[in-house]
Structure formats: C-alpha cells, structure tokens
C-alpha cells in the first residue's frame, strides 16, 4: 500500500465529463486535513469546492488553474504519512527538490490511484449515442472508447478486438457522406409516396446527410431502418464522390462534428452582463422609422467644409448628437436604477457598442454632452480606432450611462438591444436605405432608417421613452431645425 494517494477528478454532478480548475486552495508542501477544501472546480452545473479525501502533505498538483480536466484524471497527489521520512525509489527520483513539477509517467505509475468507483464501465451499459458518447438520463454522458472495453473471450484475439477503427479496411470520415440534403420530415420516395421512417432514423439520416427519398426500406411496411441509413452512408463513402469542399469547410470540427469553444474573456463577460441585465431590468423596446434624407445632405455639407476636411464624418455622429440633445430635454433617461433610489446623471458617458476580434465591447465617450460637434467626432473616431486595435482600456469601458449600438453597419434594419448593466436606455441605429416614402404627398425614394430604443421600464415609462425617441427622430429628420429650436 503506497502512502502517496492520488485524487482523480470525480463526476461532480450526475453525468458530467469534465471540469475547469478555477483555483487551488493549497500548494505543494502544504499539510492538509481531512475534508479541508483543496480546490475550486467549475463544471457545466456548478462551481464547487472539493474537500481533501485524505489528511497529509500535498505532494504534487497535476494541473494548473484555468485548465479543463476530464473526469477521472489525477489532479493532486497527497502523501498520507509525511512523517515517515523520505519517499522510496520511483517517486523520489522524479521529485528532486521540494517544489514538484508534473510527475513522470513512472512516478504516476508508482502511486496508488484511487479507483473511480461509481463510474459505469463504458461500452457495457447504455447504447452508443452520437458523438461517441453513451446515452444517459442526465448530462452529456461518458465517452465510449474502444480502449476501455473489457476484452471478450473467444476466437478474436484480445489485441485485434481492442484495436480501434484504423485497422478497418476503409477509413470512413464521418463528415464525408454528404450525398444530397435531406428533406427532413418530408422526404418522399422516388415513386412519390411518403417515406416511412421513425424519428430517430430520420435524425440519423439527417446527421449522416442521407436523403431518405433515395432509399428502399427493408423494415415493416417498407419503412426505412437504421441499418438502411447506415448502409447508404457507408456505401456513399466508398463511391467516388467529390466532397472535398464539404470536408474542408468543416475541417476544424472533430470526429463528432462538434466544436467546443471555451467560454472566457469578453465572451464570458458579455454573457454574464447580458443575462444579468435581461433578467433584472424589465426592458421594453420601441421603434421609429425616420426619413433621414435631410440629415444625410447635412452631413455632406459638413464634409464639404474646409475645417472638417480631414475628419471622418459618419451618420453615427449625427445620431450621437441627437441622443445628447434629447437627453438634455429628458434627463431622466440618463439614469441608473439603484434598488431604493434612482440616480439621475448630469453627465452623459456615451457608450458605443463595437464589434472587435475580442468580441463585443462598449467603450464610452466621457461627458459627451459637453463636447462640441467636432470634439465629439474626434472622440468617436478615436474610440472606434482604439477598440478595433484591441487597446481599449478598462477605464474607457466603465462608467457608461447611455449607449448606442450601430447595428446598421451590419446591414440590418434594427434590433431590440439589451441594456448594458447600470444603464437605462440603449439606442439601436439601423442601416440607412433608399426606400419608397411619402414625401410632400408623393411617394419618393428617400433615405430611411429605423431606430430601436430599449429602456428600463422601472425608470422610464412609455410616455417618456416615446418622447425621447421622438426627439431623436425629429433631430435626424431635420437637424438644422432641431438645433435652432432646442439650443
């Protein structure tokens, strides 16, 4: 019995296959007690602390923080009798000094691995599911691997039986057999009648890219069976079919045709913020379609002026100006819900949602209401440039009070944006298109855009939200008149 015990990552939540090491609460050399929390692990279900299974001294930590570890993998080794002097042969050679690196295979083999009790032996129970996993009631199910199968008695030598697929004559890439798009659910036979097949078989056919209409069923009443589909799929592979384009287009996917992207960084932050906002602040969204022909012409005139010659002038600038002027008329929209009070702000830190390679970020122009139009233009351009180059600082992204999301650059008309946490209004600015529009009693081709305003209904009632949106629209419909009237 070895005094070194290795602890394997257990299945922490009914059918999970992996967990991410969030934080080690102990380090190599630490003396630990039974049930002392040693590591924080996050699974698909929960972030939990794992208590030590044995008292002793931490001998090795096998995975650093931030790594994702499969269930059953050793994560920590504990010397259960550190007072008994130095360790004997294999372990000591692998561990020359106090601070231990990842142990060699030899040292791992020398330690006693706690049996993964409770784990269902793969391949024995539960049918194979798509993606090489075993079907279970809850969770993703354990992966089945040929290597873990117990060898069977009988004619087939154990080695050959355990040998994985490459030994088979024709390697069959799973993604290859795309013959024709399956007309899911409506597949018809060559003779025109409806195809008989059970839903799981239809699903299989869809997954394998087999057109049910091309098959002749061998099941009851001529229905198509699982075997028919699989046969068609493998037969198709054997034939000389040009599938190179299909194969390359999905080349980054694994054999199970699924790609797993770790959720971290900006994506994680965005997800957290959006769900928090969506489920705490009751949003409503209103839309307004505006004829912005005059505003576009005003922009052209602005661009033509000498002092604006080398400034990038985009429709976003006018929208920003419209928002800032409208906030002056309705200060309540520039506020924060703080539980038992509403914080109304005299300054506008105007956020601009920007799509970057890192993901969505929302830097803001500080105190934008005090800037001249030229200063505003320079700030907006600087903000976007910095964001695109990935150099936006945390300070630029914090403290926003009101946001514009320029979804128009993606060529869409509008959206129902979700409030950034702590803000009470966000404006979606859609694409500016030439559309038929009634102008002075006649249908004309005019430049038209749609504005979408989401606001926090706890603070902003429909009336206030509508007036605010209406003012933005009025400005964009006739900027010069609005400027004269409001300032």
């Amino acid at each position: 019995m070895s005094r070194i015990k290795t602890f394997n990552l257990p299945d922490l939540g009914e059918g999970l296959t992996e967990g991410e090491i969030l934080a080690w609460l102990v380090k190599v050399g630490d003396t630990i007690e039974l049930n002392q929390p040693i590591v924080e692990v996050e699974t698909a279900k929960a972030a939990v602390e794992i208590p030590a299974k044995w008292a002793g001294q931490v001998q090795a930590i096998h995975h650093p923080e931030g790594t994702t570890v499969e269930v059953g993998t050793p994560i920590i080794a504990i010397d259960t009798d550190p007072g008994a002097g130095p360790l004997e042969a294999p372990s000591t050679t692998a561990t020359p000094s106090g601070d231990l690196p990842t142990p060699s295979a030899a040292s791992l083999a020398a330690v006693e691995v706690a049996p993964a009790e409770g784990m269902v032996e793969p391949g024995l129970i539960g049918g194979a599911a798509p993606g090489g996993r075993t079907a279970v009631l809850v969770g993703y199910g354990p992966r089945t691997t040929a290597a873990k199968r117990r060898p069977r008695k009988g004619a087939v030598p154990a080695q050959a039986a355990a040998a994985p697929a490459p030994a088979a004559p024709a390697p069959q890439p799973v993604v290859a057999p795309v013959v024709a798009p399956a007309r899911d659910g409506q597949a018809a036979t060559a003779t025109g009648g409806l195809v008989l097949a059970k839903p799981p078989v239809r699903k299989l056919a869809k997954d394998l890219g087999v057109d049910l209409g091309t098959l002749t069923g061998s099941g009851p009443l001529g229905s198509i069976t699982r075997e028919d589909v699989q046969q068609a799929a493998s037969g198709a592979v054997a034939g000389p079919i040009a599938t190179s384009s299909v194969t390359t287009s999905v080349a980054s996917f694994g054999a199970d045709r699924e790609q797993r992207i770790p959720v971290k960084g900006v994506r994680k932050l965005t997800a957290e913020n959006m769900s928090r906002s969506a489920f705490t602040a009751p949003h409503v969204t209103e839309f307004l379609t505006v004829d912005v022909t005059r505003a576009m012409k005003a922009l052209d005139r602005l661009r033509a002026r000498r002092e604006w010659r080398d400034v990038r002038v985009s429709p976003l600038l006018l929208v920003a100006k419209a928002v800032l002027l409208a906030v002056k008329r309705h200060p309540m929209v520039n506020s924060t819900w703080a539980g038992d009070e509403i914080v109304v702000k005299d300054y506008v830190n105007l956020g601009i949602a920007a799509a970057t390679e890192r993901g969505l970020i929302v830097p803001n122009v500080k105190d934008a209401g005090r800037l001249s139009l030229r200063e505003l233009a320079d700030s907006l351009n600087g903000l976007v440039q910095t964001a695109k180059s990935g150099r936006t600082s945390p300070a630029d992204m914090s403290g926003g009070t009101l946001t514009i999301t320029n979804v128009g650059v993606f060529g869409v008309d509008t959206g129902t944006p979700i409030l950034p946490p702590g803000e009470s209004a966000i404006l979606a600015f859609g694409a500016v298109r030439e559309m038929p529009w009634v102008h002075k009693g006649k249908v004309r081709a005019r430049q038209v855009t749609t504005l979408g305003l989401s606001f926090d209904h706890r603070i902003i009632d429909g009336e206030l939200g509508s007036k605010f949106l209406r003012d933005i629209g009025d400005f964009l419909a006739d900027p010069e008149a609005a400027l004269l009237a409001w300032t």
Binding site: P10, D11, E14, K45, A46, V48, P51, P151, K153, G154
Partner: protein, 391 residues
C-alpha cells in the same frame, strides 16, 4: 402570534416580506425559541391552539445532540460526494430543527413518508445513518425496513409520497386504529416546491374528505431548486389548508421546540380522529438543492447571511448556555461524538461492497419468475463471455 414575546424579538426577527402581495406577507409564526436563544412560554396558532413544550434538561440536551449529529453527518455525506464517493447528495443544512423537532414528535406507532432530504427524521427514527448513503452511492436501493422503523423509503418523485401517506392514513382509519391515545397517525414530508404538484393537491383533497389521520409537514425552505417561493404561491402556504377544509399552521422551522410542539399536537389530533392538518415549517435551505446545483446563480449572499442569523443550532446552544443546562464540557463531548461518528460513517461508506451486476434480478418478485430466471441466465452468459470473469 407569540404570547409573552420578550421585547417583540419574534416579530422583528421575522423574514421581511418578499413582495407587496407575495407569499410571505406577514406570517404568524409559531415560535418558542427566538434566534437569540430566548424561550417563549407558549405560542398561539391561527386557530387559537396554544403550543408549549415542557422538556427536562436531559431532553433539551438530547435535542441539541440530535441537531449537531444530523448536521455533521450530513456535511460528511456532502464531502463524500465531492470526493467521488457518492453520486449525489441532497443536504439538509439549515433544516435540522424542522426535521429533528418533527422527527422526535413522532410516537413509535406513527408512520413517516419522507422525501430524499429527510436524513434528520431518519436519524430520529433510529435508522442507521449509513442507509441513505448506500442509496446515493448506488450500491443498494435504500436498505432499511420501512415497517420495522415506521419510516418509508426515500421518495425521489416530488410529492408522490403525500398520496402514499394519504392511502396509508386511510388504512389506519379502516383498521380502526384511531380514537385513543394509542391511536396511529401518519406524517408526509414535502417541500414548498411540491405544493405546486398535482399529487400534493390530490392528497389534500383525499385526506380531507376521508378525514385521514395524516399530518402534512411542508418544509418551506424558500426554493423549489431555483424557483423562489413568491413565484410559487400568492398566499402563505399554510393558508392553503383552509381551502381544503383542514387546519394549517406556520411554525418557525428553525426552532426545534416549536417544530416539536406543533407536530406533536397535530399528530395527536389526528390519532384522536380529528383528521388531517398542514404544518408549514418556515425555514431556509442553507446549501445547494443537491450537489448538482449551484445556488449562487439564483440567490444573493445577503439573503443567505440573514438566515445565518437564525441558525437552528446556535439558538439552542445559546439557550442551553444561558439557562446553564449545559456546560463547555458537554458541547465539547457532543462535537467529539459527532466527529467520531462522521469518521466512522466515512470508513463504512468507503468499504461498502459493490453489488454483483447479477443481483439486479434479486428481489424483483418475492418468489421469482420464469421470465426473470431466463433473463438472469442470459445475463450470466454475457458476463462470462468476458476474459478474466469469475463466472
């Protein structure tokens, strides 16, 4: 309403209303021991029933010991799950008083129908605490004899046991075992989430119209997994009983004395032929729903902290100290016993034998069946086809 409530402590400690017309409202809570450990002589329920307890010092100490033991063994089971030794565990952390109070209120002839979280009641019924661990380790189906201990198997299906209990209680009446001090009664445990189930409401109807000797004991721990109480009901749960035609009472579920008093009274009423009643033990699940759950995703830390101040064990300890019923040596001895028994529990769990796969055919029918024998033979042949198999 608490009579003799010292300085209004009870009232001020009541949970704040969670919404204007929400479930919690301003509940009348039967309480005999405040969170500060102050004893209240008696408390009156909504129907005028007066609740009091009269324990000896030894009995007070016994209740404290139960609470500590139950919490420690539960914590050990949670640790064992984290270490891969149990598939799942549903912790009772925070609900010890409701379980020990009601569990100790049962008389030996009373039958209990638990959910999968009643480890405290199980302990009070004298069942070896290892029993549920075999179930959650997946090596047996539960293992205790429900008839011997008058404690049914854990029921995983939410609320189903309330119907089983109703049927059992109707049987008590048909057997004529009510109407005296020796009469029998049944108690059905369930949670606040189960009150939204059809089964529970059907059980209310049947128990009511058949005047079944049954106590519905609802541990309202505020969450149906992640769904908070105010999204489950518009009225305080105990008030639902009125609509079904039997009395309902809300008790401080973190007060072991009040939980005992209310349950004992309700059971005695049932055994004397007065029909069913509903007890809402107002408590809080301090931990996760099960080890597969992460409560930080749906509730805030300040809420958990506010309930920490109402801990069921702290208040008993404070009471014992103030009244000089127990000294430091007693508390140390109880802690040591709990530690010893939890280590013992751990050792026994680690040494539980894995059942042979073929044992799944055992105990399906009392006298076997030809079809099952055939399946067993086929399965044996399959197992023997593996190399190194002992078969």
């Amino acid at each position: 309403m608490a009579k003799g409530d010292p300085g209004g402590t009870t009232r001020s400690r009541r949970p704040a209303p969670r919404s204007k017309k929400g479930a919690a409202g301003n509940p009348e809570l039967v309480q005999l021991l405040t969170p500060d450990g102050e004893r209240i002589d008696s408390a009156t329920g909504p129907d005028g029933t007066e609740y009091r307890v009269d324990f000896t010092d030894e009995e007070y100490r016994g209740l404290y010991r139960d609470l500590v033991m139950v919490r420690k063994l539960d914590a050990e089971a949670t640790a064992l799950q984290r270490q891969g030794e149990l598939g799942l565990w549903a912790s009772l952390l925070g609900q010890e008083a409701a379980q020990v109070g009601s569990g100790r209120a049962l008389r030996s002839q009373d039958m209990a129908f638990p959910t999968y979280r009643e480890h405290g009641v199980l302990y009070c019924r004298g069942i070896d605490p290892i029993m549920p661990l075999g179930l959650f380790r997946g090596v047996d189906q539960g293992g205790w004899d429900p008839n011997e201990f008058k404690f049914n198997m854990y029921t995983i299906v939410i609320g189903a046991q309330t119907l089983h209990a109703t049927g059992y209680a109707m049987g008590i009446t048909m057997d004529g075992k009510i109407g005296t001090d020796d009469g029998e009664a049944a108690i059905a445990y369930f949670g606040d989430g189960a009150t939204s189930q059809g089964d529970v409401n059907e059980a209310f109807v049947w128990a009511s119209v058949f005047n079944a000797p049954l106590v519905f004991f609802c541990q309202n721990n505020q969450y149906a997994i992640s769904e908070p109480l105010e999204r489950q009901t518009r009225v305080p749960l105990y008030q639902r009983a009125a609509g079904f035609g039997f009395p309902g009472v809300r008790v401080d579920g973190n007060d072991v004395l009040a939980s005992y008093a209310v349950t004992r009274t309700a059971l005695d009423n049932s055994r004397h032929g007065q029909g069913p009643s509903l007890i809402e033990a107002y408590t809080y699940r301090m931990g996760a729903h099960t080890t597969s759950d992460d409560p930080t995703r749906y509730r805030i830390a300040s809420e958990v902290e506010s309930w920490q101040a109402k801990d069921p064990i702290t208040r008993v300890k404070a009471f014992l100290e103030k009244q000089q019923i127990a000294d430091a040596a007693f508390f140390a001895e109880v802690d040591e016993q709990a530690r010893r028994e939890s280590v013992h529990l751990r050792e026994r769990v680690l040494n539980m034998p894995n059942p042979e796969p073929v044992t799944m055919f055992d105990n399906v029918y009392p006298n076997g069946s030809p079809l099952l024998d055939e399946q067993r033979a086929t399965f044996n042949r399959y197992m023997e086809s593996f190399e190194g198999s002992a078969h």
